[in-house]
């Protein structure tokens, strides 16, 4: 099923590439595409970054990691020991920025393909045992990535065309 002229599977490929690029550039490590875990496959506390895009195509991307992995990513990105990371602010900012980079790359490709759009500012949700459910008909895809011993999930919701 396609939404407008860009197949959703192609957008998923862009997301795959984008996650891989961000991890190799910012962390010098691999984010290997794997089958997604159901309901994120964990009851651990999660940190979810979300960035939407609005324009010719509308959608939202959720980047989900465990709170522990979020701290690890923060430590590696900022070059500081985890013990020095106080509170949630810094972690939220890092996850927000990672979400921005991942979705920014997809937005660029959408624009190049004649579907201009703008990004929303990133937002962060924290908690455990919850799901995101769209209320309007939309295409949904769930992507999984293995980053060493940690897992990253990308949930992509795109509004269906009329």
């Amino acid at each position: 099923m396609t939404t407008q002229s860009i197949p959703i599977e192609e957008v998923c490929d862009w997301l795959n590439t984008s996650v891989s690029d961000v991890f190799s550039t910012m962390f010098s490590s691999e984010a290997q595409s794997v089958p997604p875990l159901d309901s994120h496959g964990t009851t651990e506390p999660l940190v979810i970054g979300s960035v939407g895009f609005v324009g010719e195509m509308n959608g939202v991307v959720y980047i989900s990691v465990t709170a522990a992995f979020a701290r690890t990513l923060t430590s590696r990105m900022l070059g500081m020991p985890e013990a020095e990371i106080e509170g949630h602010e810094m972690v939220n900012d890092v996850i927000g920025e990672l979400s921005n980079m991942i979705v920014g790359s997809v937005k660029s490709r959408l624009c190049d393909r004649g579907a201009p759009c703008v990004l929303t500012i990133p937002s962060i949700v924290r908690g455990q045992n919850f799901e995101v459910q769209p209320i309007k008909p939309s295409e949904r895809r769930l992507l999984g990535f293995q980053c060493g011993t940690d897992h990253l999930a990308v949930e992509f919701l795109m509004k269906l065309s009329k």
Partner: protein, 369 residues
């Protein structure tokens, strides 16, 4: 004067990454969280360059840049634009803004450093002087394994780590992973490999400060001259003499060698003086002695023995040095004893401070005193 870099980005993460990227460079980083703050900071600090995010709340990068171009005092400050959006339209838009360069997120730290370095001069921070006792990394580029083995053996008594590679290309790869403190390269490597390696590493901001020592035959005087003219810090000739090799390395790295004169024996620190003592070395040794006395007392050392007998020309510097060490010993309640030759004893008789010193003939007597 330190270069000033203004980082304007609503993401604290990006601003921290930029701070981290320039940590080894002698520059000041100022920050702003949006275009409005950025304008105010630019007007106040007059940075040498601005790294400007495109998408920001309150005032975005495009608006900030437009306002800067209208202000005579800010219009000539070079700007590097930062954006997560690599689309063709966006890149064209950025190019038309009159920025000097742009960086697409995600980015590696050395990319932003390299781009800034192309626009403004970015000196490295002066490194803290290394000490003889430090774990120094030496890379030996020599196609004869026996020479590498000789060097490793000659420096085996130090804490220095010696890695040997046979080819210059391998050395380039090795330095890309981890920069060595010093490189010893055979001047007879094929196709002028040593000079090629020197030129390559000098062209990289990460490695341009690494000193090179050339290795060649003693009779190859032209080669030695050529290496020095090219900018090599020194040349060591074959057959390799360990003391000359070590001295060349110490000179090239400007090593603080004071600690090499100290040894621990049976609960005693023994300081063996060099043959020549000038005021500069005396000051370094004095500082080092104080540190050794302090750490020695912490770890249960009972005595400091100063062996003055190697000194070829005992003089006032020697006397003043012993006085300073004696003061340190007194401060930390550590006993000390002196060993000296006849020349030392005669010299000590000349000065009021040293006339009453008890000077023994050997280590056994000094330790028993």
């Amino acid at each position: 004067m330190k270069k000033k870099i203004l980082s304007v980005d609503d993401s604290k993460t990006i601003r921290l990454i930029i701070q981290k990227a320039f940590r080894n460079h002698d520059c000041q980083i100022f920050e702003a969280g949006d275009g409005q703050e950025g304008l105010a900071m630019a007007a106040k600090e007059k940075p040498d360059i601005i790294i400007l995010d495109l998408t920001m709340p309150v005032m975005d990068g495009y608006e900030m840049l437009t306002k800067m171009k209208a202000l005579p005092e800010l219009q000539n400050i070079p700007v590097i634009m930062l954006t997560a959006e690599a689309g063709k339209d966006n890149v064209l838009r950025i190019a038309k803004m009159g920025v000097r360069d742009y960086v697409i997120k995600p980015f590696k730290e050395d990319v932003i450093v390299a781009k800034v370095g192309k626009i403004i001069e970015l000196p490295l921070k002066p490194a803290a002087p290394k000490k003889y006792d430090d774990e120094i990394r030496l890379l030996v580029v020599e196609d004869k394994p026996a020479i590498i083995a000789q060097i490793q053996k000659a420096l085996g008594h130090t804490r220095w780590k010696v890695e040997g590679l046979a080819q210059a290309a391998q050395a380039v790869d090795a330095c890309a992973k981890q920069v060595s403190d010093i490189i010893i390269a055979s001047l007879s490597l094929p196709e002028e490999g040593a000079y090629d390696l020197f030129t390559k590493l000098r062209g990289d901001s990460k490695t341009k400060g690494v000193p090179f020592i050339g290795l060649c035959l003693e009779s190859a005087t032209e080669e030695q001259s050529k290496a020095r003219q090219a900018g090599f810090a020194g040349v060591v000739t074959k057959p390799i003499q360990p003391d000359k090799l070590e001295a060349a390395i110490c000179r090239a790295l400007n090593l603080d060698t004071a600690s090499r004169y100290f040894q621990e024996r049976e609960g005693t620190i023994v300081l063996t003086m060099p043959e020549q003592l000038d005021s500069t070395l005396a000051d370094k040794l004095s500082l080092c002695s104080r540190e050794k006395v302090m750490s020695g007392v912490e770890s249960g050392i009972g005595k400091l023995v100063i062996d003055l007998s190697p000194l070829k020309s005992p003089n006032l510097d020697m006397v003043q040095f012993v006085v300073s060490v004696a003061e340190a010993c007194s401060e930390f309640s550590l006993s000390y004893a002196l060993i000296g030759s006849e020349a030392v004893i005669q010299e000590c008789k000349k000065y009021e401070e040293s006339q009453g010193w008890r000077i023994t003939e050997n280590l056994a007597d000094a330790m028993a005193a």
